[in-house]
C-alpha cells in the first residue's frame, strides 16, 4: 500500500459525524461526484461508491467521529477511514457475512446486516483493517485504475 505520496492527483478529506443517520450517505455521494468529474470508469465509480458508502455507515453506526480521505493517483485510488469509536474486538468475526453488533436503532435505519465489511472486501482490490477495541478503527482500501477488469463496463 505504499506509493500514495507519489503522484497524487486528487486528495480530499471529509469529516464524518457518528450517530448522524439523517445525513448518512452524504460523504459517499461527494466522493462519487469527484470520481465522476475525474472521468474514472463506471465500474471503478460503482465499486468505490459501494465501499465508501459502507465505510461511512460503519463510522456513523459505531463511532463518535471519523475522517475519510480519498487519494487518486494515475494507477489507483485509495480511501483511508479512521474513527474514534467502539472499535472491533474480533476482526475475523466482523469480516464474516451476517455477523453484526448493531443495536435496535441502527437496524431500524436498515443498517446492521453484518454485510458492510464483506461488501467492502468484495468491491475493492486491497483492504486493510485494524482496530483497537474501545478506541477506534483504521480502514484502508485500494481500487486499481490500471487493471483490465476495472476498466470493463458494468457487467
Amino acid at each position: 500500500m505504499d506509493g500514495t505520496e507519489n503522484n497524487i492527483l486528487i486528495h480530499k478529506t471529509f469529516h464524518i459525524e457518528g450517530g448522524n443517520f439523517q445525513n448518512a450517505g452524504l460523504i459517499s455521494d461527494q466522493v462519487k461526484k469527484i470520481l465522476k468529474e475525474a472521468g474514472l470508469p463506471k465500474k471503478v465509480i460503482r465499486r468505490t461508491s459501494i465501499a465508501t458508502f459502507e465505510a461511512e455507515m460503519n463510522v456513523i453506526c459505531y463511532a463518535q467521529r471519523g475522517n475519510l480521505s480519498l487519494f487518486i493517483t494515475p494507477n489507483f485510488l485509495k480511501v483511508v477511514v479512521e474513527d474514534e469509536g467502539h472499535g472491533i474486538p474480533d476482526i475475523n468475526l466482523a469480516m464474516s457475512d451476517g455477523y453484526s453488533t448493531a443495536d435496535e436503532k441502527i437496524r431500524e435505519w436498515g443498517f446492521g446486516a453484518g454485510m458492510g465489511l464483506p461488501n467492502i472486501r468484495r468491491n475493492t482490490d486491497e483492504m486493510v483493517l485494524t482496530s483497537k477495541f474501545r478506541e477506534g478503527t483504521h480502514l484502508e482500501f485500494i481500487i486499481y485504475l490500471d487493471r483490465q477488469e476495472n476498466m470493463l463496463p458494468f457487467e
Binding site: 443517520f21 439523517q22 448518512a24 450517505g25 459517499s28 455521494d29 460503482r46 461508491s49 459501494i50 458508502f53 459502507e54 455507515m57 437496524r107 435505519w109 436498515g110 443498517f111 446492521g112 446486516a113 453484518g114 454485510m115 458492510g116 464483506p118 461488501n119 468484495r122 458494468f154 457487467e155
Partner: protein, 116 residues
C-alpha cells in the same frame, strides 16, 4: 417487462423517477437491510422495501436498480423524493405488504436470483 408495466398491473403510485419508467426489469429483490441489497441485488432489479429514507436512493443508484417499491403504503421522506428525482430512480408505492407484493410480482414473471 418494464417498470411502467408493473405500475399499471398493480396500480402503484409513482412518487419520483417518472422519466425512467420504461426501464426493463431484470428481476426482483426484497429486503430492508441496505447492505444485504448492495450484496445481492442485480442491475435492473426492482427492489421492495419498507425503508423510506434517502439512503435507499443511494443504494438503488449504486446498484443501477430499475426502481424501488415501498410496501405497506409507506410514503418516502421528502428528501428521499428529492434525491430520487435528481438520480432518476423511480419510487413507487403499493398498499400491499412485502409478502403479498412479492408473491404477485412473481406471478407476473418477476423472479429473484438463486443464491450461488
Amino acid at each position: 417487462m418494464t417498470v411502467a408495466d408493473i405500475v399499471k398491473n398493480f396500480g402503484l403510485q409513482t412518487r419520483a423517477g417518472r422519466e425512467r419508467l420504461l426501464e426493463e426489469v431484470t428481476g426482483g429483490y426484497a429486503s430492508d437491510l441496505l447492505s444485504d441489497v448492495i450484496a445481492h441485488s442485480r442491475k435492473g432489479n426492482i427492489w421492495i422495501t419498507i425503508q423510506t429514507h434517502p439512503n435507499i436512493v443511494a443504494v438503488a443508484t449504486m446498484k443501477e436498480l430499475a426502481g424501488i417499491i415501498l410496501a405497506g403504503g409507506r410514503e418516502p421522506d421528502a428528501d428521499t423524493i428529492q434525491k430520487a428525482e435528481e438520480e432518476e430512480i423511480p419510487i413507487l408505492i403499493s398498499p400491499l405488504f412485502t409478502f403479498e407484493l412479492v408473491g404477485k410480482l412473481y406471478q407476473i414473471g418477476i423472479s429473484g436470483m438463486s443464491p450461488c
